[in-house]
């Protein structure tokens, strides 16, 4: 008896192998579901953003909660961000010294380190570190509140959860990311100088003077303040994922993971657009 006959008798759907029309149909269904899910996610995110914006601009304002979140996002992320920035500074210092030596351009080291840290690595590393720490924390916290009906309890108490929970956290991320980036940049430059000075004497004053020679505010301010957009992405996605969670403990875990993964992904994609925007607007 052939395998297709066996499965037909047993009432089981026949396997797709050897049935190209079913395979194609299944593939089309999968792609359709994926595309529908993609648009549904973005649509829901847009509606969520609208509700948060409306809540954020209408009183009463949640100043106490905002201050608490500024501490949570900002000061509690500072040690991690500083450490990451310092590590990046050392890495760039080691790599730059080797590469520049090969091309006889060792004198370019200070400028290379300064521009690499402030314009590129400092912002992106800060964004990714904060996405991991803060994004996961917000996603898990709000997801846990969702599955235990705490968000429903807030709403039942005639308090707007979009204002209390989401707007405060998103605004805290927007305000704190540039400040954390400055901290990461400072640690990166300091550690990079130190790594270089261990090999070749170079005073800090010389390093700063040479590194920032000819630089304007346009070179450094836009890359630092673009991290406010990173903060918006991290906070928005984490709050969105958390507040729409279903499914108990598994849902909480999924929300935390998705907050980090999607936050990091969109942050990097946004950076592509932002870098181009900065190069055009601030040549």
């Amino acid at each position: 008896m052939s395998s297709s006959r066996v499965t037909a008798v047993a009432g089981i759907d026949p396997p797709l192998q050897g049935r190209p029309e079913l395979f194609a149909s299944s593939a089309v269904n999968s792609v359709t579901e994926l595309v529908n899910g993609f648009f549904e996610w973005f649509g829901s995110l847009g509606i969520f953003l609208w509700k948060v914006l409306r809540a954020a601009v209408t009183p009463p304002y949640e100043w106490r909660e905002l201050i608490r979140q500024l501490d949570e996002v900002g000061s509690k992320s500072l040690p991690l961000v500083a450490l990451a920035g310092a590590a990046v500074g050392v890495i760039i210092s080691l790599e730059a010294r080797y590469s520049l030596s090969r091309f006889g351009a060792k004198s370019m080291f200070p400028a290379t380190l300064v521009y690499s840290v402030i314009q590129v690595m400092g912002p992106i590393i800060t964004g990714l570190v904060v996405s991991g720490r803060v994004g996961a924390g917000i996603g898990a916290e709000l997801a846990s509140m969702k599955v235990t009906e705490q968000i429903d309890a807030i709403e039942a108490s005639a308090i707007n959860p979009y204002r209390l929970l989401a707007a405060t956290r998103i605004l805290a991320c927007i305000l704190m990311l540039p400040l954390l980036t400055i901290a990461a940049d400072a640690c990166g430059l300091l550690s990079g100088w130190f790594a270089q000075a261990m090999v070749e004497p170079l005073s800090f004053h010389q390093f700063i003077e040479s590194g920032f020679k000819g630089a304007t505010f346009n070179a450094f301010l836009p890359p630092t303040f673009k991290t406010a957009v990173y903060g918006l992405i991290i906070g928005l996605i984490a709050c969105f994922q958390g507040m729409r969670t279903r499914g108990g403990a598994e849902g909480v875990g999924r929300a935390a993971t998705n907050s980090v993964v999607l936050g990091s992904l969109f942050l990097i994609l946004a950076d592509v657009v932002l870098v181009k925007f900065i190069l055009v607007v601030f040549p």
């Binding site: 209408t58 009463p60 509140m145 705490q150 309890a153 039942a156 108490s157 005639a158």
Partner: protein
């Protein structure tokens, strides 16, 4: 037994609000996907009255409470609070209505990052901003004393038992002096002694505050203790509504089965 004072207070409030129901639900319908949870039910509750909504698990009892407080929107039908239609109200306009209601969730839904006292103070901090900190602290102590939790102010929700969490949830629900109290399975998961204590507490609060209360429960004993009227739901419909004697004398097969197995 109602005292003359109780009767006089009730008459005064009746004159203020009239004899119209405080909560009136008419032809309320709610579906989730293809599953019809509420199939056009109609119920009402007056001031000082407690209505117990009974039924099997999954018959839409909790959904009814969530519709009344506005956490869900009905597919059709009417929900009136003091005669005001709320079924289609937007979130920002539900605020004033919700301040008149207290809701006790099935698992209390205490804010787990706040202490017991901070949980009860939460609605006061947001809606009674004219209160000084000392007044607010005093009010929190009063509310917790009413529910027998005055010695646990600084404990976290995770440090107290399920029954104690329900008491704190009840204190929080009463913080804004609501006219309507919604209780979702107040004795679910509790041992018989703790269930009895919660029932006694609800009875005491009801006697003192004369709220319109709706209690969702599958605990028939609890419903008999605290409710003036009972409504039994099955497959999204109200099978019977009345006092316990009406249910006991009913010839409807489902009612007989429910009472036999409760």
């Amino acid at each position: 037994m109602a005292t003359a004072y109780d009767i006089a207070m009730k008459q005064e409030k009746t004159e203020e609000y009239g004899s119209a129901p405080v909560v009136a639900v008419n032809h309320l319908r709610k579906t989730f996907g293809s599953h019809t949870v509420l199939n056009g039910i109609s119920l009402s509750v007056n001031r000082g009255e407690t209505l117990a909504v009974l039924g099997r698990s999954g018959t839409g009892k909790s959904v009814l409470l969530r519709l009344i407080i506005g956490l869900e929107k009905p597919d059709s039908g009417s929900i009136r609070i003091h005669g005001q239609e709320i079924a289609g109200l937007a979130l920002d306009r539900m605020g004033e209505i919700r301040k008149k209601m207290g809701f006790l969730f099935q698992h209390a839904a205490l804010y787990d990052s706040l202490t017991v006292a901070e949980n009860v103070a939460f609605p006061l901090q947001h809606h009674r901003t004219e209160m000084s900190k000392s007044d607010r602290t005093g009010r929190v102590r009063e509310l917790l004393a009413e529910v027998g939790m005055e010695g646990d102010l600084d404990k976290m929700p995770s440090d107290i038992s399920g029954g104690m969490q329900k008491r704190v949830g009840l204190a929080r629900a009463l913080a804004l002096e609501p006219e309507i109290l919604l209780l979702d399975e107040p004795t679910a998961g509790l041992d018989p002694i703790s269930s009895g204590e919660i029932d006694d507490l609800i009875l005491k609060l009801q006697r003192e505050r004369q709220m319109a209360s709706i209690v969702v429960t599958h605990d028939l004993h609890s419903a008999r203790t605290i409710a003036n009227r009972l409504a039994l739901l099955d497959q999204g419909n109200v099978v019977i509504e009345g006092n316990y004697e009406d249910l006991d004398q009913s010839e409807i097969a489902f009612v007989k089965e429910f009472l036999k197995l409760s």
